[in-house]
């Protein structure tokens, strides 16, 4: 029998970015890159496990905006165009590197990766990647959890109750509609928990959420098992805390695996490195150089001189890191088992996009790790949080502490000089939304459509991503524009509704552009 459990949770999220008014929009590439580099490689990995009969239990959050984008026809078509372009470029690269076999090997690798991604996307899953993940869940391997409707940071947006409740309810409904069951758990946006948030989870039947380490460690009363067992909030919803030791091994810039010299260097992309005239058809139409996804170098060392990437070495390294990671979990579980007197749960949550996009070999690392877990040892077992609650249904009752997994552990990332101006507007909008929902409840036709669109605009403005971007200082104008745009749209809808002067043409335009949650129901904002 095993001595403990490991729970791997991958948080797949991107903010809703969709600009039908433009043929090319740089920020849409976040999605395209994530599809090619993270989501499809994960799908390939899961397919491989099923093919080879590898027992695995993995948890993934697919956030509602990501699901909305993956299911959107316009973005699906654009992804195809994008990957076709990349294949064309990879093809040229194979020819261009003919005199440099080392580089040509890498070019061939990309050519193969891109064509395979296209095939998986188009032929195998008929553009429906959400359906692909659903398949793994339906067959009992993957546990898919939800998130806030638009990744709104709950500790800061909840001036009134309906703000947080609407985020949760809307997410839960989308989940039920798409996955045909109740969401078992939730990744609270940014792991942002404030006491009381669990009440909204309970309302929709969600059984558990994740917090950062100190959310559990500073819970009251003291949690007997630390982060190695969940606690029940007084509402009965379970809270699982992140294990720091396993996190550090992957996340830490200094000690983490992804910084290894043999892994691929993110910042050397041919979009910047190659001759302008040659690369021009594959960068922004206005000539701005951007990342293409083709990168030829490995991290190499501390200075600028980079050596070419050798795929075989990188895979070798990923395998040995996976072995090391597993070994440490075994030791950790054995040690904790003796102290706790029950099997510890080691919770290891990560951003999914870390694997593949940032850490190019990340999916291979996971692949090796999960296979090794299944075949090479018996000390620890991969399970999902739901599995754990079935094995250990009795847990201590305690209230987690306000916490997030952001810088400094609380709310500062989303509440600082760079972004605090958004809250007076977000709060006002959610108060107004509540007011409108109560006042116009029962109306249909144009008014109902306007209320639903107002709900969409509010949701989109609430994305924690915008505040995050303002805080980090990259792509700031876009985040500010998005925040303002949605608040202005909301305010206009509010005034139009209150003055009974809705402009249907404009409303229609909003409905087709900001079309997240086609079935959104403004009544989630009612009292």
């Amino acid at each position: 029998m095993e001595k403990g459990f490991v729970s791997l949770v991958l948080h797949a999220h991107l903010p809703f970015v969709r600009h039908p008014e433009h043929d090319f929009f740089l920020e849409e590439h976040w999605l395209y890159e994530a599809i090619t580099e993270t989501y499809i490689p994960l799908i390939h990995m899961f397919e491989g496990f099923e093919r080879d009969n590898v027992q695995f239990r993995v948890t993934m959050s697919l956030t509602p905006p990501l699901i909305s984008m993956l299911r959107d026809e316009l973005l699906q078509n654009r992804y195809l165009k994008h990957i076709d372009k990349l294949i064309e470029l990879a093809n040229k690269e194979v020819e261009r590197t003919r005199f440099q076999p080392v580089f040509q090997d890498i070019a061939l690798h990309y050519y193969w990766q891109f064509t395979r991604a296209r095939d998986t996307f188009l032929n195998h899953y008929k553009r429906d990647l959400v359906g692909a993940f659903k398949g793994f869940q339906d067959r009992g391997h993957l546990e898919i959890i939800t998130c806030g409707a638009t990744h709104g940071f709950l500790p800061l947006i909840s001036r009134n109750e309906s703000a947080a409740r609407a985020q949760i309810q809307t997410a839960a409904r989308q989940y039920e509609e798409i996955f045909g069951r109740t969401a078992p758990g939730i990744w609270l946006p940014e792991c942002g928990y404030a006491p009381g948030v669990d009440k909204y989870l309970k309302e929709v039947g969600i059984k558990y959420f994740l917090t950062d380490t100190h959310g559990i460690l500073h819970a009251s009363p003291r949690p007997k098992f630390g982060v190695f067992a969940p606690i029940y909030c007084p509402s009965g919803v379970a809270a699982f805390g992140r294990d720091l030791e396993s996190s550090k091994q992957v996340w830490s810039a200094a000690e983490g695996y992804p910084g290894d010299a043999d892994y691929r260097e993110f910042y050397r992309d041919i979009g910047f490195d190659l001759d302008y005239d040659y690369i021009k058809p594959y960068i922004a139409p206005d000539g701005l150089r951007i990342n293409t996804g083709i990168k030829y170098y490995r991290i190499t060392g501390e200075n600028d001189a980079k050596e070419p990437y050798v795929r075989a070495w990188a895979l070798e390294k990923a395998a040995s890191h996976a072995g090391n990671f597993m070994f440490n979990r075994e030791k950790q579980a054995e040690y904790l088992y003796d102290i706790l007197g029950r099997k510890p749960l080691i919770m290891a949550p990560y951003d999914a996009e870390l694997y593949g996009h940032w850490w190019y070999e990340g999916p291979e690392f996971l692949n090796f790790f999960i296979r090794k877990m299944a075949f090479d040892q018996k000390t620890v077992r991969l399970i999902t949080p739901s599995d754990y609650l079935k094995i250990y249904p009795v847990n201590q009752v305690s209230t987690p502490s306000l916490s997030s997994w952001g810088y400094k552990g609380y709310c500062e990332t989303w509440l600082s000089d760079s972004n605090h101006w958004i809250y007076r507007h977000l709060h006002r909008a959610s108060i107004r939304m509540n007011e409108m929902a109560n006042r116009f409840k029962g109306q249909n036709g144009k008014i109902e459509r306007a209320l639903n669109q107002a709900a969409r605009e509010l949701f989109l403005a609430q994305s924690s991503d915008w505040a995050f971007i303002m805080h980090t200082g990259t792509m700031v104008p876009y985040a500010e524009k998005r925040t303002k745009e949605h608040i202005l749209n909301f305010n206009q809808l509010y005034e139009d509704l209150m003055n009974n002067q809705l402009n249907e043409g404009w409303l229609h335009q909003l409905e087709t552009t900001n079309n997240i949650f086609p079935k959104v129901d403004y009544r989630v904002f009612c009292n």
């Binding site: 009363p221 550090k248 830490s252 992309d269 951003d351």
Partner: protein, 381 residues
């Protein structure tokens, strides 16, 4: 939140050079008024706190400051330098348009998206103050007070600004019994929000109001009540769930060395949370993780050069062409172009063209050699 730490490579390079000084100026410049006031307020508070009981008499010298106490576009806006409120209006209307880093043309392709730039309202015509928790030690508050409301309240204490200051009064309401203790922060400039330094695991609410030097206080608005999170482990024990050394569990959970005392652990956790590598979120880590290798250049200068070789030609459109034995794709007019990265060394580029009728073969064989010399950099004093 992994995605956005990403910087385009050249941008990264450009930024690296200036990162430190730039950040500082940005912090000082950006939300200018408020942030500067906030930081100066921090110091003031701690001083004032001690002699709360006998509110300090406003000295003559501080009256000019008092005359700037107005907030939400009111009070002494006549005496306020015009550029102040103007600057603020601009700032609010277009919150901190940050400087574009590298590649100024980044947004060229976005005209449609960027076309409309209406302004967010500066206020919503309400009177309120709202309180948010930022972390165990800091609260954030913002408010809206309309001029007529403020005038009415001012009337209650005499109707004159003489000797009256705008204050935030922060009440510690942790214990329900008796009158709550409080401290005041004197507002300055055109502030409409403030960061408040407080203590962990305590409950607060705040009033914004007018304070007369004779001690009379009239509240303009009262906030919601909030509780700050505790900064360490709870003191509350649960008898049913004990019997394990919690310090040890705490250390193991946090990845700290076992054997530390509660106090040490608390300090370590606080340092961890305050430090750059706090949690795993993108917020703290991902930007650096994205490029695990930090480029530590002594000087910003750099130079790269590479060679490519273009081979082009033409033949009958229906002919077959090979280069080094590999087929070459012809355009409909029979021309072709090949482009190769060209490393050091010698290449024999034997090109063959075969006529469509299979009768004729033509051969052209350029031989090219690249030799690159890289003398040491010349550094002039």
């Amino acid at each position: 939140m992994a995605w956005f730490g990403k910087k385009e490579k050249k941008t990264e390079k450009a930024e690296n050079k200036e990162e430190k000084p730039k950040k500082k100026t940005a912090a000082a410049k950006k939300p200018s008024l408020v942030s500067r006031i906030t930081s100066s307020a921090k110091k003031k508070v701690t001083k004032k706190k001690s002699n709360l009981e006998n509110l300090p008499k406003i000295k003559k010298s501080s009256i000019p400051v008092a005359s700037e106490t107005g907030f939400v576009d009111i009070a002494k806006s006549e005496s306020e330098p015009a550029k102040f409120s103007e600057a603020r209006r601009k700032k609010q209307a277009q919150p901190a348009q940050p400087e574009q880093v590298a590649f100024g043309q980044e947004n060229k392709h976005k005209e449609k998206f960027w076309r409309r730039l209406d302004h967010l309202p500066e206020h919503y015509g309400d009177n309120f103050i709202y309180l948010l928790v930022r972390d165990p030690y800091w609260l954030y508050t913002y408010w809206e007070i309309q001029k007529d409301h403020q005038e009415r309240c001012l009337a209650q204490i005499g109707g004159s600004w003489d000797g009256v200051r705008s204050v935030l009064r922060i009440y510690d309401v942790t214990n329900n019994k008796g009158l709550p203790s409080f401290f005041d922060i004197f507002l300055q400039g055109m502030a409409s929000n403030w960061y408040l330094e407080v203590q962990p695991n305590r409950s607060y609410l705040v009033e914004i109001g007018l304070l007369h030097r004779d001690g009379r206080f009239v509240a303009l608005a009262r906030s919601n009540q909030i509780t700050t999170p505790r900064a360490g482990m709870s003191d509350v024990l649960d008898e049913e769930w004990m019997d394990i050394d919690f310090d040890k569990i705490y250390a193991l959970s946090g990845g700290f060395d076992v054997g530390k005392s509660s106090a040490e652990l608390r300090k370590l956790m606080e340092e961890r949370l305050k430090g750059a590598i706090s949690s795993g979120s993108g917020a703290g880590v991902i930007t650096s993780l994205g490029s695990p290798v930090r480029i530590a250049k002594k000087r910003g200068f750099w130079f790269v050069l590479d060679c490519e070789l273009i081979v082009y030609g033409a033949t009958e459109p229906d002919a077959t062409v090979t280069l080094q034995g590999k087929p070459v794709k012809l355009r409909p007019d029979g021309t072709f172009t090949l482009r190769f990265a060209y490393p050091d060394g010698k290449q024999v580029l034997d090109a063959h063209a075969y006529s469509a009728d299979g009768v004729e073969e033509r051969i052209i064989t350029p031989i090219v050699e690249r030799v690159t010399e890289r003398p040491a950099p010349v550094l002039k004093a």
